[in-house]
Symmetry: T
Amino acid sequence: MSMESVANSVQLPPLDNPHERQAVGGELEVVLQELIGLSLIGKQLHWSVIGPAARSVHLFLDELVGEWRELADVVAERAVTLGFVPDGQASAVSDGSRVEPVPVRSVVDHAVIWELARRVAAAAERVRERLARIGAADLVTQDVLVDVVRKLEQQQWLLRVQLGDRA
Amino acid sequence: MSMESVANSVQLPPLDNPHERQAVGGELEVVLQELIGLSLIGKQLHWSVIGPAARSVHLFLDELVGEWRELADVVAERAVTLGFVPDGQASAVSDGSRVEPVPVRSVVDHAVIWELARRVAAAAERVRERLARIGAADLVTQDVLVDVVRKLEQQQWLLRVQLGDRA
Amino acid sequence: MSMESVANSVQLPPLDNPHERQAVGGELEVVLQELIGLSLIGKQLHWSVIGPAARSVHLFLDELVGEWRELADVVAERAVTLGFVPDGQASAVSDGSRVEPVPVRSVVDHAVIWELARRVAAAAERVRERLARIGAADLVTQDVLVDVVRKLEQQQWLLRVQLGDRA
Amino acid sequence: MSMESVANSVQLPPLDNPHERQAVGGELEVVLQELIGLSLIGKQLHWSVIGPAARSVHLFLDELVGEWRELADVVAERAVTLGFVPDGQASAVSDGSRVEPVPVRSVVDHAVIWELARRVAAAAERVRERLARIGAADLVTQDVLVDVVRKLEQQQWLLRVQLGDRA
Amino acid sequence: MSMESVANSVQLPPLDNPHERQAVGGELEVVLQELIGLSLIGKQLHWSVIGPAARSVHLFLDELVGEWRELADVVAERAVTLGFVPDGQASAVSDGSRVEPVPVRSVVDHAVIWELARRVAAAAERVRERLARIGAADLVTQDVLVDVVRKLEQQQWLLRVQLGDRA
Amino acid sequence: MSMESVANSVQLPPLDNPHERQAVGGELEVVLQELIGLSLIGKQLHWSVIGPAARSVHLFLDELVGEWRELADVVAERAVTLGFVPDGQASAVSDGSRVEPVPVRSVVDHAVIWELARRVAAAAERVRERLARIGAADLVTQDVLVDVVRKLEQQQWLLRVQLGDRA
Amino acid sequence: MSMESVANSVQLPPLDNPHERQAVGGELEVVLQELIGLSLIGKQLHWSVIGPAARSVHLFLDELVGEWRELADVVAERAVTLGFVPDGQASAVSDGSRVEPVPVRSVVDHAVIWELARRVAAAAERVRERLARIGAADLVTQDVLVDVVRKLEQQQWLLRVQLGDRA
Amino acid sequence: MSMESVANSVQLPPLDNPHERQAVGGELEVVLQELIGLSLIGKQLHWSVIGPAARSVHLFLDELVGEWRELADVVAERAVTLGFVPDGQASAVSDGSRVEPVPVRSVVDHAVIWELARRVAAAAERVRERLARIGAADLVTQDVLVDVVRKLEQQQWLLRVQLGDRA
Amino acid sequence: MSMESVANSVQLPPLDNPHERQAVGGELEVVLQELIGLSLIGKQLHWSVIGPAARSVHLFLDELVGEWRELADVVAERAVTLGFVPDGQASAVSDGSRVEPVPVRSVVDHAVIWELARRVAAAAERVRERLARIGAADLVTQDVLVDVVRKLEQQQWLLRVQLGDRA
Amino acid sequence: MSMESVANSVQLPPLDNPHERQAVGGELEVVLQELIGLSLIGKQLHWSVIGPAARSVHLFLDELVGEWRELADVVAERAVTLGFVPDGQASAVSDGSRVEPVPVRSVVDHAVIWELARRVAAAAERVRERLARIGAADLVTQDVLVDVVRKLEQQQWLLRVQLGDRA
Amino acid sequence: MSMESVANSVQLPPLDNPHERQAVGGELEVVLQELIGLSLIGKQLHWSVIGPAARSVHLFLDELVGEWRELADVVAERAVTLGFVPDGQASAVSDGSRVEPVPVRSVVDHAVIWELARRVAAAAERVRERLARIGAADLVTQDVLVDVVRKLEQQQWLLRVQLGDRA
Amino acid sequence: MSMESVANSVQLPPLDNPHERQAVGGELEVVLQELIGLSLIGKQLHWSVIGPAARSVHLFLDELVGEWRELADVVAERAVTLGFVPDGQASAVSDGSRVEPVPVRSVVDHAVIWELARRVAAAAERVRERLARIGAADLVTQDVLVDVVRKLEQQQWLLRVQLGDRA
């Protein structure tokens, strides 16, 4: 029996408007790729940060990366729960994620914070824009994305305050 | 002082439309009975599964049962928080839960997965149907039930994929 | 190969008097249903207890329920070890357990203790009556049931002393 | 660069209606002060409770205080995430919190429960009133406050049932 | 029986000079209010710190707050052990604590350290002044306050060194 | 080489007034016997308490017993550190401890608290009387006994408040 | 209602031959006193052992004492479960325990092992003698005492082997 | 002093019929060798299992091996407790254990389960046959062997059910 | 001071042949990209696996991903230790890793194992080829890569045996 | 597909000189048998040690046995990684291990140390002799065996020093 | 701003007699050097102990070293808290510590205990002599040193008893 | 029997060229002294660091000190494993370690990093120079020193990057 026929007998979650399943899955795939993109540049900066605050930033980045990986798992599992397999491999992330790459060289600590802050803020904003649209299609998926925004915006705050008195 | 009079002095949560308290409580009772029903057939299959994957399914069932018991606690405590005592005893579950019983004999591993997948999918769908109605009455109870649906649908996925290439 | 034929090649535990396997299994099923019955009324009271000692009783009930669930697992697994699948689902428990239901409303703390004490004492006594008969058939199953009685009688003491100076 | 100018380059979360940021921040500040107020009277009663149930109430109060402190952190961090610094110091709490003070003397256990139950119920109700208004401005902040109400109402239940048979 | 009469039958700790019980209790109340005051401004700064070291200071403040809360508990429990109920609520702290409030806005990291260092040093000094006087009245209470001073002076060092090369 | 001669080569702690070593050791032995006496009646009541608060008192007694056993260890080890072997066996405790025995039958919960409160208060007072005398002989032993008094007086408070509104 | 009348309504465990309840309780009391006696001399030797192996014996004694205390708890709770309150206070142990006291002075390590080995062997033998008699009255109490003998005989072995090549 | 003479002074456990000590020891030695034999073939299969379920079986085998090693320890220590040193070295196990060797090559997962199931069933049966005989000589040793049979029969069930639908 | 000038004052590890630093760094970068590539396809398959063994493979993949991420960290940190910043971002991995992508759809469990086994074997072989060359340049880096090969070859075995009887 | 053909498609680790795979596997099998042999005599002595240091040696032996079992696992898994299934069953160990058996009777503590020290030293030396030969064939296997020698030689030191002043 | 000027604005702890700050700092430095000296000879003996008790002494030494390191930290941090930086480097310890070096060769176990016992006793005595003098200057520092003496004298006891019957 | 004669009977590890044992031991002693030297200056700076990053550096230093102490243990134990007792006492470290002392006064945070970075880099380089020479004598000791270099060079990186943008 193919995946499709199994889906017929053990039904997928019945969204109010079933033909939106594909659309919701696609939205989740984009969010997934953003989160994987963030986790890869997070690691990149974890290795390349320099400057007086390097060690502190190095440790902070690992916490952020841990949070992005966890959110990515939640998002991807919601997509497959809806019967949609998102693509989270290197080339799909490279093509699909709108997270800007970072330079491949040593980066000074405050620049690391600055670069990350911009990227996290932009990613949070892109997910936030999806909230209302997805809430109309599926309250449960909306709940997943509210969790993503809530965490990204909190990170955005933690990053933003580290830029506070720099001019 | 009776329960009622205490409720007068230390008020129950003020739903927007107070006479819906009884209705919301009743909905939560049904969900509770479904969850207890699932946890009892889960244990039943935990003991009676056979076949090459028996041990793995045996362990998986204990995780599911743990999750259903935890959700049942959350649901029942939300009901009493609203001043409604739901019935979670054997005969009430036997009468009220729409979860089909399973045969009382050894059951082969893939049949266990199949039987559970159908029951979890059906239970998830029944709770999902309640979401909008309850959201109108009480946002906080809706939040409780979104958690229930989110978890049940994730289990539904974990079960469904185990049926993937069987024909 | 059917369950029976497997049982022929990988033998079930050889009780001294093999035709008693069915009888021993049946005794274990009754004990199982008592324990599940206790765990369901335990949870019911956990949610519906009121009164000055409500919180303390609420916590105590969760410990008792935990112990009953663990004993139920041991008993059910002993039954299937002997090749007998007991029925632990809602309707079987509703029919087979001799544990009396409790009322579905708020119950005052001392009444909770009193109601439980009576039910645990009765259940302990019913299992104790089986000890000698089962010891004759299978020493290992007797050891399982001695553990059940030992734990139930200890709970009976913990409950009984809470009734001590009430008149 | 001032806080404001940084906010311009690394944008704050873009609420649908940006001029509501100040309003939402103000609502969160009030909730924060309520929670700090609760945690201070919780500690006060933790030290001054007497009576047969004193030890049990003493321990229960520390759990409640822990939960209020955790919620206060979540609420305050949501406010600063939105670019609003709430005031959580003694005089601001003294002025802004609507949680009534408790008497500074030994307080008998059941009176402790009664006093707390009234204050928690009132605080929960005040936050609940804000839910719809804030949901219109920011879904993520609403999610934070639903968590606050859910926890406060659960505490309200745990307190209320301890008053159950007292007349 | 009132608190007083119980105190007559199960005596309070017999200080050498019993009429000093009230005085010692009063001293402990002042120390308690200082410690609560510190913990509230500690949290306030935890939320409002900005600047390159914001995250490190943010974490450090939570450790300090944890230590102040623990000391507050020890001090308050010593007071009630002596039969004196101190007031630790918002308005009492607002009136009684000599810890200066901090501004309600974003505060740059080094200013946070500076502001805290001054307040902790002043608080430590005020408690230290009480040591000899209290030692004369009650060696055990003195032992409690030596612990408070030892911890506050250690924090004072940890804060002071962070100001070391700033001019 | 005998104990004495070893003591000559690896000297015992040099108290200011060496012939007081025997006296200090004797004081510690009395405290040890009080603490063992408390721990034995603590266990006795742990087994024989009845009444509505029986379980809570049962658990509380185990905490107290744990604290008394730990203090006894500290006191006995301080005595042998000074070269004095105290006697902590049943008959020595029976003869030397001034802690009154409790009746050998079921004891109602509030009577347990009352009986313990009186005994702990009396024991704390007897140790407190020794503080100044021992401080003159050995500051380190005084530090040990201040710890004992501080803990016993805290227990005395926890017990006393449980008697608060009983008449 | 007195203890007796409660016992009538919430029955004590129904031994086959009910008038043996007193006898079984008495046997358990003797075992309890032996175990408390062992734990007190165990601690005594823990403090007074000297010699090259002193530290190793010092640690070993704490393990043994821990095991005796745990067994004492199990035995005492079985006795009260049967409705019999045993006496475990200093003077009862001093009178009832047949465990010989040890000298109150420094004791060389191998003598400690020797003295303990004799006492544990004798105690194990005295409990073993009770096994058959108690099994006839109550299988569950027999199970408790088999656990006691099993542990004491294992300790006896651990002690005996340490004497192996000493002549 | 030789082992024998020590045995005279610190007596071995006094079996009812002392000349059976040697016999009981011999029985325990056989059980020990069976358990070591099982643990060695368990590890062998842990390394050589192949097939789709290889990883799951690989992990399961480590759990079984852990249980056999623990049981072996308990059995051997009971033997030496009785004054009998059993032989658990490679050649004794090779000669004395009746557990059949397994082939030294890759073994497919279901064959692993089949081979183990037969060997565990046979071993359990051989120990079970000893129960009554040993119970007559020593109740405590019987208790040890009941634990062995109980665990082996439970493993036998876990293995047997994995063969359930294979033909 | 630039990175280079700092490197002059606090020297980089002095390889025997310093101009090989760049070459060794480049080799480590390739290994890093392979490991990130593996971790991304590992997660992809974690989400898309179906079939009877889906859950077991799902869990296994998370362990493998955890091991690859840890090795990636060790490899990247060795590169920067040598003064070379490797590129681990999505597009670099997409271009540089020779790990083949997997299809973006549900994949049956045994196919998952097969696909992974091939990719891990190939990756292990590619790293192994580098061992001798790198050992000549830097023994410490060789030690890092031996750890990588050792772990990858162990995984290769764990994967290979799961294919054992499939034809 | 047979094991061999799978090996063709998912290649085994490509040693430089492939026909040495059999040889390396054989060397690992010998080391495995030595380690299992050590762990069996370690347990044997764990049970049969007597004398003043018996308990300390008893505990030390369990640590050594734990280390040997872990090394055995690593060694066996390396062998199967290379496609060679080593034999670790009782008769193979009995035939292949060059670790001398120990006598089956009580053994005095210092003799235990002496006997073990000789056997560990000999085993370490036999593995060390293999290092260079295996390094030429496979650097990764050499790394495994260096770990074995490093641990065995460290144990040899810990044993040797315990013999230091015995003549 | 220099250290001095910071000290002016964020005052150092105000000792009663401020010019004694230097003196108290100097006393703490001597104690620090003693403790580091002890920890270095502790490690030295940890590596060089031989004899039958070597392993037990080896483990004991690590505990002592751990305690000395912790005390050293407390002492050094108290010194810098008072504005005095003590010297804890190798040459300062070599010059300032009065702890005698130990020979650099294998040392028999009982000699290790003897050598340590003498050194710890001497160090404890030297710190004890400082107690009164420092108490006059600063009660808080006295509290720190009482902790040091209390721990050192306890170690002195643990060492002394191991010498008990040696002549 | 002297150490030498024991070494004859329980042989030391047989290096290929036995007369190099002394040489290898001497090399390990030098490394040991470097590591102890690092750990003492690490602690010194832990206490004397000041400046805005003081707390972060303070914590980082404790991690480094922990790593140096662990490596020192490994190195010293390898030396005695080879029969060579290295000297790790204060005067030997003061004479033998080539780690430069640091000034005894408050040191600003970035200067701490700079001073440490230089010392760690130099120490790493000195150990690295020994690798080839020692590999020729003993592969196992080489493996120990590769671990030392790998860790020191990683620390060197973590320190170096903190200097990155400072000019």
